[in-house]
């Protein structure tokens, strides 16, 4: 009888342990399966991200080639034609002086200068020749020449030397896009670009204006916000983050944090 009782109690203990072991085994299976799923999902995300980066890179390369082509055409073809036109006009003006011809000559001169600037802006070789800081300085000078804006560049000449040529081109295009937005939409009078190191490994580039500001979420959710979205996707490519602070009456500050 005693033996029977002991057997029964032992059976209960063993059966309980057996149930618990099954439970633990089930939990282990769940855990292993979950980890595998998680790993697969993360790998898929990584591949998707890499694919997007490659696509963006290809898009940018195509865009740069197109811009360089247009720049070349403006400089070598349209520019030449206008220069020849101007020479012929000057020959005509010598034989038959006229006030109207002088005006046409002045306008042609302005058109040639503007086209040359446009050609320089579009051509990425300016960055290779001058470096990004000098290129930005020239860009701001051109904007200031319109007489509508006061501009300021606060930066050490070598502060962005750590950025590769490809990345500096992407950064330059981002800033161009931001400046275009300011010129087109902001109603600003002052544009400032400042670049400083806020950490040994982080460089902060700020583009600020004193314009009317804008509603960031509204712009990003509209189809019109493509330019701004491009800025965000380009920032991703150069391992930078973009933060926008915009107050409707006091202007906009766009902060680009570039990691070394």
């Amino acid at each position: 009888m005693q033996q029977k009782q002991e057997d029964l109690l032992l059976t209960i203990v063993i059966a309980t342990l057996f149930f618990l072991l099954i439970g633990i085994f089930y939990l282990l299976l769940v855990f292993m399966f979950y980890q595998k799923q998680r790993k697969n999902k993360l790998e898929k995300e990584e591949m998707k991200h890499q694919f997007e980066q490659t696509m963006l890179q290809a898009q940018l390369e195509i865009q740069e080639n197109t811009l360089n082509y247009i720049s070349g055409e403006i400089h070598d073809n349209i520019g030449q034609i206008l220069s020849l036109t101007r020479i012929n006009l000057n020959i005509l003006a010598e034989s038959t002086p006229s006030e109207t011809l002088n005006k046409i000559d002045n306008l042609l001169g302005k058109a040639i200068r503007d086209l040359r600037h446009l050609s320089h802006n579009l051509n990425s070789s300016i960055l290779l020749d001058l470096g990004i800081i000098e290129a930005l300085s020239q860009l701001l000078q051109q904007i200031e020449k319109t007489g509508k804006f006061k501009t300021e560049l606060i930066a050490n000449q070598s502060i962005l030397d750590f950025i590769s040529t490809d990345n500096s081109l992407i950064l330059y295009r981002m800033i161009q896009e931001l400046l275009n937005n300011i010129i087109k939409h902001a109603n600003a009078t002052q544009i400032t670009i400042s670049i400083k190191m806020i950490d040994p490994k982080i460089c902060l580039l700020t583009v600020s204006d004193d314009g009317k500001g804008f509603d960031i979420s509204a712009v990003l959710h509209q189809k019109k916000g493509i330019g701004l979205r491009h800025i965000f996707s380009r920032a991703k490519m150069i391992n930078a983050t973009v933060t926008i602070h915009s107050n409707k009456p006091t202007g906009t500050n766009i902060l680009i944090e570039i990691k070394k």
Binding site: L8, L9, A15, T16, G23, I24, V30, K41
Partner: protein, 217 residues
């Protein structure tokens, strides 16, 4: 006081300590639940210690039903699929009905309601399995399983009810016949061990809530 009571109390104390982090999450209802658990255990102990009555089954019968209802409610919140939510939710009145029927026609007031407990245990184990299944087929979750508070709660409930199935099935038999003394000891050993597992898992989930400070539970 047995050792498992301290685990219960620790779990309750942690829920109070991390109340700020828990209050935005569904598991905040653990605070009153654990308070009630500790209170019931204490009253049960008083019954036993001061020998107020021979048996305190009525107290634990009520609490066991309430506990199962509480867990079912938790699952109804945490299930993602609408049908599963409904099943967990409709389990609550079903359990109440079973409990009343058991009280009225089967085990009455003088017995521990093992039928209700076994019925509830079966569903709890199923709910846990289904919850874990939902967790692994979810496409949007990338968090580590061990960082998810309700995962730990689920583990605790799963092991507790799975481990107590056999001992509860044979509860009546063990406390009768010749097994009374050793059967009782074994029953206490297993249930107390499982209680410790259960309340440790609750404690871990509260600590995780505090660490994560996110509301994905």
């Amino acid at each position: 006081m047995s050792l498992d009571f301290y685990f219960e109390f620790l779990s309750f104390a942690l829920s109070i300590l991390f109340f700020k982090q828990l209050k935005n999450a569904a598991i905040v209802i653990f605070v009153p639940f654990l308070f009630l658990t500790v209170l019931i255990e204490f009253i049960g102990w008083c019954y036993h210690f001061f020998q107020i009555a021979n048996k305190n089954y009525w107290l634990f019968n009520l609490f066991t039903s309430f506990e199962l209802i509480f867990y079912a409610y938790l699952f109804s919140i945490h299930f993602k699929h609408a049908i599963l939510k409904k099943i967990a939710f409709y389990f609550i009145p079903l359990l109440m009905l079973i409990s009343i029927l058991n009280y009225t026609y089967l085990q009455g007031t003088d017995h521990f309601h093992t039928y209700t407990l076994l019925f509830g245990s079966f569903f709890m184990v199923i709910f846990c399995c289904v919850y874990l299944y939902e967790l692994i087929i979810n496409d949007t979750h990338y968090e580590n399983l061990f960082n998810q508070p309700f995962f730990w709660i689920c583990i605790g409930i799963f092991l507790f009810y799975l481990g107590s199935v056999i001992i509860n099935s044979l509860f009546e038999y063990m406390l009768s016949n010749e097994l009374l003394s050793r059967g009782n000891n074994l029953y206490l050993l297993i249930t107390r061990g499982l209680n410790m597992v259960l309340y440790t898992s609750f404690s871990i989930s509260f600590i995780l809530c505090n660490r994560n400070k996110k509301t994905y539970y």
